[in-house]
Symmetry: C2
Subunit: 234 residues, 2 copies
DNA sequence: CCAAAAGTGTTAGGCTTACACCCATGC
DNA sequence: GCATGGGTGTAAGCCTAACACTTTTGG
């Protein structure tokens, strides 16, 4: 490839990852944060990030950053926003393209997380973060709320099998409000995207709650028939 | 400012502008396209764009590109998406951050448009464009449709005073479907964001149609009271 | 048998949609 | 007086929201 653009200004381009996880036990939405390992702002809390290399796509860079931290591949990853103010980074002019990822926390190797500099922090009790990372998170969180209303992405945060109570707890954690149990169940069941399993979850109650699975192929059919996912329920 | 990041790969960063305009006479949504003035792909149809300078914010760059083309300032401009595949530009590795702008076509200096290389092209009859510009447009157009449903941005495309027929025509042009006249009027009127003027538009009909104005301060009140703009109507 | 969590239906009201005729005016 | 486009109201049905009791079972 000829390089036609040699005389032009080049810029550092980074990616930052807003990595959401959900703790099924304490019913809180969490973010995976790290302490920065280089200057400036060494040792401060930051979003996991990295610089986009010459020969690497932006999405690819975001996935690399996530992989280096978690060893996870094939994760739900969506671009959020490009942050381009000249002075947003005190170390130099860096344009960062933020992404958000949804991961199943139970798939993380606990040994690795222990050894790593990464920590889960509740979305409602975030530490002070460098630069504009707090704004980046706020935006990604808003986008997640919008997304989970109209796309079946919540399942990315849950185990393969989950109970309806767990699914509702997740939605309540993200929306940060209570949802009516009967209305929630009616709506999710009526979309016919879940399959009820024979097995019950028996740890949190004596009666036990049936496990369900999300069936992606049913969602494809559902879309093909012109229906729209919707869990924007009171 | 110390430069901490000197050893890292830098990349060319561009902005591309998807500039929407609306022709009130032929009731079509248009895009302002240009012919490229440098290699590669010299002379081909392209989105207006430019490279982000070292000392210039990304949004600022998008506004500069728009200003250089139209002499317009204070235009509605929203970031769309960062396009970061390594091979998206055949002239070299360029990450481009697309934006969409909404402009009032009647505010453009006709002499300038005549002299310029820019041309309005109907959204439904676009020429072949370079690189991934068609995908960039498709995405921006989808975003515009979503946005105009839930935010009063349509007025950015209309003159200060407009008739309800003109407003509906605009929505029909963007949605690319017919809307029921009574339902549309009921909904927009019920939001109480418009002020009916005494004056009538008398060029398109004998009876004449009342002009209305959008009152931004009413929209601020409306939001403060917890209402949501909605013109997603059949 | 009791405590704790799972599971289940109905109704009222609001919002959306569908639909057709009268009005005003220039020619 | 007629052709042209502007302007108006109502009713049916669907969807949403609100709401409380029964079931199951381990201890």
């Amino acid at each position: 490839m000829t390089n036609y653009y040699e005389v032009l200004d080049k810029n550092l381009v980074a990616v930052d990852c807003v990595i959401f996880g959900y703790d099924i036990s304490d019913k809180e939405l969490k973010l995976l944060l790290v302490k920065r390992k280089f200057e400036p702002e060494y040792g401060k809390w930051t979003l996991p990030g990295g610089f986009v290399k010459k020969d690497e796509g932006v999405l690819e860079a975001a996935c690399r950053v996530l992989y280096q931290l978690t060893s996870l591949k094939d994760v739900y990853m969506e671009q959020s926003y490009a942050w381009g103010d000249v002075d947003r980074d005190s170390g130099g002019r860096v344009i960062t393209i933020s992404h958000f990822a949804l991961i199943k926390t139970h798939e993380l190797d606990p040994v690795m997380i222990e050894a790593s500099v990464a920590h889960w922090r509740s979305i409602s009790r975030l530490p002070k973060l460098i630069f504009d990372h707090r704004r980046i998170i706020d935006r990604a969180y808003k986008e997640l709320i919008d997304r989970i209303k109209v796309k079946p992405v919540g399942f990315e945060l849950l185990p393969e099998k989950f109970t309806l109570v767990q699914l509702q707890d997740l939605y309540e954690a993200i929306y940060q409000r209570k949802i009516d149990k009967r209305n929630f169940r009616k709506k999710i069941i009526s979309m016919n995207l879940l399959e009820k399993m024979d097995e019950k979850e028996k740890e949190t109650s004596k009666k036990g709650a049936y496990y369900y699975r999300f069936i992606p192929s049913r969602y494809e059919d559902f879309k093909r028939q012109g229906f729209y996912f919707n869990l924007d329920v009171q």
